[in-house]
Amino acid sequence: MTAPTPAGTAVETGRPESAAPERSGRAALVWRRFRRNKTAMVGLVGLVLLFAFAFLGPLLTHWSATDIDLVNTQSGPTGDHFFGTDDVGHDMFAQTVNGMQKSLIIGLLVALLSTGSAGLLGTAAAYFGGWWEKVIVWLTDLFLVVPSLLMLIILSPYFQGANWLVLVPMIALFSWMITSRVVRGMTLTIREREFVRAARYMGVPAWTIIRRHIVPNISSILIVDFTLNVGAAIVTESFLSFLGFGIRSPNVSLGTVINDGAQFASTDQWYLFVFPASVLVLIILCVNFIGDGLRDALDPNSTGASAR
């Protein structure tokens, strides 16, 4: 996750000669506070289970995502086809699980990359000022005014044959700008705070100050942005796939599966939509729970995470 790289490594705990029972660095403290948060732990366990489901799920069925069961087209959920089949006879379970693999990776990686670069560029622009700032702000504005969809369509021929992972930088490239601007604004105020000045006068290097003092203090926005980006990336990916760019038939992603199933949402074949859509909801829910927990753990003002 992008959320603050906990500063400094954990200071050794439980030194024999010290009377202090719990001396620990920020990383350990944040982890301890995170663990106290039940929903956050549910989210974390849920996400691990979803990953397990995505990568171990194929073992539960003998159908693969590309197999076509001509005998059982438009079948409802059965013992053989857990999530039913579509018009052609694709096994929805195999398709969902297969799509999840890609979507989970795309969602998390895109969020990591776009929130990460937004944080990096935003803080650097504000902290260093001068030419750094001019160039970064100019770049941000440029990406904001260029219609991203048009760019993607223009660029797509160059990536026709490429691996689907190319989608990750492509989507990230057009989703960092607004956060970056917000981050820059927040950094401008934090930069003037005395604790940042204090660190400078101690001789702490600039990037360490950014990592240790600035990023944790803007972590709320970064975490919220990250959790939103996961969902947004999965949806964007399906949209791009729809345009024939990225993941194309017979390969599937969660986005394409949901897209195909959407028209059946209110028909007898609801299962074509409901199952993959609930998986998407679960992914986003888990990521949000983790994000909330992390935000509370990092925020000393939250009461949720403090010891009682």
Binding site: G8, S24, R26, A198, M202, G203, P300
Partner: protein, 711 residues
């Protein structure tokens, strides 16, 4: 000030107040409770007092003692979740229970208010004149013309020069002191019976504070109003109030005539407060009397037990203090009340007042015995200058002027020495500090640490040098990263300078103990500490690398007095123990008098007077120093009444527009008394700082320097 004032009922109301007619404002058993998540916060618990016409009641207390809430209750300005019980009578009329519309008729007319922050109390989008006119026409039927005339008159009364022009100005065009004058003008606009002043001078510099208090006094004489003065500053109250109520944990714990409270306090909290303020008029050897801090922190106002709320911090608490809360009862004659179970012992002298608090031992520094000349200089600043260009224009920037923030200053700090750098806001203190801390070549002049020029350092050497020079900032909340556990914050300088995690952790524990905290506090976040503790943490961080010089930028001005004393003692003790040198920047001269060996007074980017503390304070030679010292209120009512105050006219000029010759001459009272030829010298010749002829370590930058005792 205008003499022919057209106040409607000024006749018969000025002069000696008639005390026979019964109280003007009578508060009885006032209770204010706020509902909160954690339970009911009992912010005010049983406040009772009477205010007679023309009287000044000072309500003193630390933050959170309920002093502001109790006065907001009088105005009916508390939020909706406040439950107010008791009785507030103005001229016999009950105010509690009146609805907002009825209260609006009283607010601003019978009871007026002067707030702490005059910028947020004035509307930024209307001119000052319009706002006064509005205050007038809301309560009085006046024609526009009459209201305007009246407003101009009021501006004149409160001492705003050129009211005709200032009438049309917006609040942002006024300085802080001027805005507060406007607030006073608005407060007295309708000839109120009571003026509530909530920390009216806290946000202002001392010389401006003196002006404002003077303006308030004038306003009171003109209107004959009673004043309720809420403040944390015992000095302000001493000279201004007739009666004092000391509040603690939502209750008045001692109440009585001002002299009684100051000279024969009957409650340990009051005694503690008085003992914890550093005094300008301190006598004794070196002027240094250790301060007696009050240990601990005020209690939480949620679920207070039936015990004296001060018992945990009180050195003379006994069983009974923890079993029941003392009532506010008579403690000696003259309407002197005290809420203390041991008031009788304090009154009879069984417990002498000076012995209530143990006097802390401040160790003598070894270096103190070495004469100053034989000690090595640790920080030498010569001719330091920092000018900022003043730019105009959006696309094509052009230089339209120069802000001379620091304009050539010299000083030297020797081993084990504390130099106090004092001056009002905008005089260049902070710029000086920041220039020193950058450790690079200044625009002009030189900065040398241990004889090494900052200008010639390589990056690595500069990093090394940072070990030796550290800083403690003013606001302990802002200077600690709220998201970083304090252990990590203290370890930061250590880790930066390559200490291993193990060694750093051990050092953090050691440092926490050194500043009076516990090693297990390391895993907590700054917000879990009180202001005083946070400042201790900042001190610990500054000391982590065993620096030689610590720069203290107003280290105690954000703290309550009782807490402040503890931090000052700590700094004193650490200096002696570790042989530190301090550059102590402050606007509070009493604190500097207490802690510093030498003092430098800054005015508009220059040092105007420098020298040994005792010498400078006893015989200040520069008119500015004299005015500055005389402006500071002493927590001693009798001395305060006898003192002549030197009031400086106007505000600190902008450093972008420094007067020719002597930069102080515009405001100098001495300049005004000189003849034309002498004045010409002040106008044309910039005075240099020269040693005073008859003194050892004392220099002043004035053509006509002459000692004058003002304290």
């Amino acid at each position: 000030m205008s003499q022919n004032l057209l106040l409607p009922h000024s006749a018969g109301r000025s002069g000696e107040p008639a005390r026979t007619e019964g109280p003007l404002l009578s508060v009885r058993d006032l209770n204010v409770t706020f509902a909160s998540e954690a339970g009911d916060v009992r912010a005010v618990r049983g406040v009772s007092y009477d205010l007679h016409p023309g009287e000044v009641l000072g309500i003193v207390g630390e933050s959170g003692s309920g002093k502001s809430v109790s006065s907001m209750a009088i105005l009916g300005l508390l939020p909706d979740n406040a439950r107010v019980t008791g009785s507030i009578k103005l001229d016999g009329r009950e105010l509690l229970g009146l609805n907002d519309k009825q209260m609006s008729k009283i607010r601003g007319k019978d009871i007026a208010m002067v707030f702490q922050d005059p910028l947020s109390a004035l509307t930024p989008v209307f001119t000052v004149g319009d706002q006064i006119v509005e205050a007038l026409t809301v309560h009085q039927k006046l024609s526009r013309d009459a209201a305007r005339r009246r407003a101009l008159e009021l501006l004149d009364v409160v001492g705003i020069p050129d009211p005709e022009r200032r009438f049309k100005n917006f609040p942002h065009e006024f300085s802080g002191g001027m805005r507060q004058r406007v607030m006073i003008a608005m407060a007295i606009a309708n000839d109120p019976k009571v003026i509530l002043c909530d920390e009216p001078t806290t946000a202002l510099d001392v010389t401006i504070q003196a002006q404002i208090l003077e303006a308030l006094k004038n306003a009171q004489e003109l209107t004959g109003a009673a004043i309720l003065m809420i403040t944390h500053d015992l000095g302000v109250v001493a000279g201004f109030a007739d009666k004092v109520a000391v509040m603690y944990a939502g209750r008045p714990v001692e109440q009585g005539p001002v002299d009684e409270i100051y000279y024969s306090p009957r409650m340990p909290y009051t005694i503690g407060l008085l003992g914890s303020i550093p005094r300008l008029d301190a006598s004794g050897e070196h002027g240094r009397r250790p301060l007696t801090p009050i240990e601990g922190n005020p209690p939480s106002m949620v679920g207070l037990p039936d015990a004296c709320p001060f018992a945990d911090r009180c050195p003379i608490a006994t069983e009974i203090c923890r079993d029941s809360e003392p009532e506010l009862l008579a403690a000696g004659g003259n309407a002197h009340l005290s809420a203390c179970h041991r008031r009788a012992d304090l009154q009879s002298g069984t417990i002498p007042i000076d012995e209530v608090y143990p006097v802390p031992e401040i160790p003598e520094a070894e270096l103190d015995t070495v004469p100053r000349e034989q000690r090595a200089p640790v920080l030498a600043v010569k001719g330091l200058r920092k000018h900022f260009p003043l730019m105009r224009g959006a696309v094509f920037k052009r230089r339209v002027g120069t802000v001379k923030a620091v304009d050539g200053i010299d000083f030297e700090i020797r081993e084990g020495e504390t130099l106090g750098l004092v001056g009002e806001s905008g005089c260049g203190k902070t710029t000086t500090l920041l220039e020193i801390l950058e450790l690079v070549a200044p625009q002009a002049g030189s900065i040398a640490v241990f004889g090494r020029e900052a200008a010639n350092l390589s990056g690595r050497e500069r990093l090394e040098m940072r070990k030796d020079i550290q800083i403690v900032f003013q606001d302990p909340m802002a200077s600690l990263d709220p998201r970083m556990p304090v252990g990590e914050a203290i370890a930061e300088p250590l880790r930066t300078h390559g200490w291993s995690a193990d060694r750093a952790a051990a050092r953090v524990a050691e440092l926490l103990e050194l500043v009076g905290l516990e090693p297990y506090h390391a895993a907590r976040f700054p917000r879990e500490f009180s202001g005083g503790q946070r400042q201790r943490i900042c001190v610990a961080r500054a000391l982590a690398l065993n620096p030689k010089v610590v720069i203290l930028d107003e280290p105690v001005s954000a703290l309550d007095v009782s807490i402040q004393a503890g931090v000052i003692n700590l700094l004193d003790e650490l200096r002696a123990k570790l042989g530190l040198s301090y550059l102590f920047v402050a606007h509070d001269l009493s604190v500097v008098r207490h802690i510093a060996d030498r003092v430098a007074v800054m005015y508009l980017g220059r040092i105007v007077e420098i020298g040994d503390v005792a010498s400078v304070f006893r015989a200040p030679s520069h008119p500015y120093t004299q005015a500055l010292l005389s402006a500071i209120p002493l927590p001693d009512p009798r001395k305060e009444r006898e003192r002549e105050r030197i009031l400086l006219p106007g505000d600190l000029p902008s450093p972008a527009n420094v007067p020719s010759g002597c930069r102080f001459r515009d405001r100098c009272f001495k300049y005004a008394s000189l003849n034309a030829a002498e004045q010409a010298r002040c106008r044309d010749e910039d005075p240099v700082i020269v040693p005073r002829p008859d003194r050892e370590d004392h220099a002043a930058a004035c053509h006509y320097a002459d000692a004058l005792q003002v304290v």
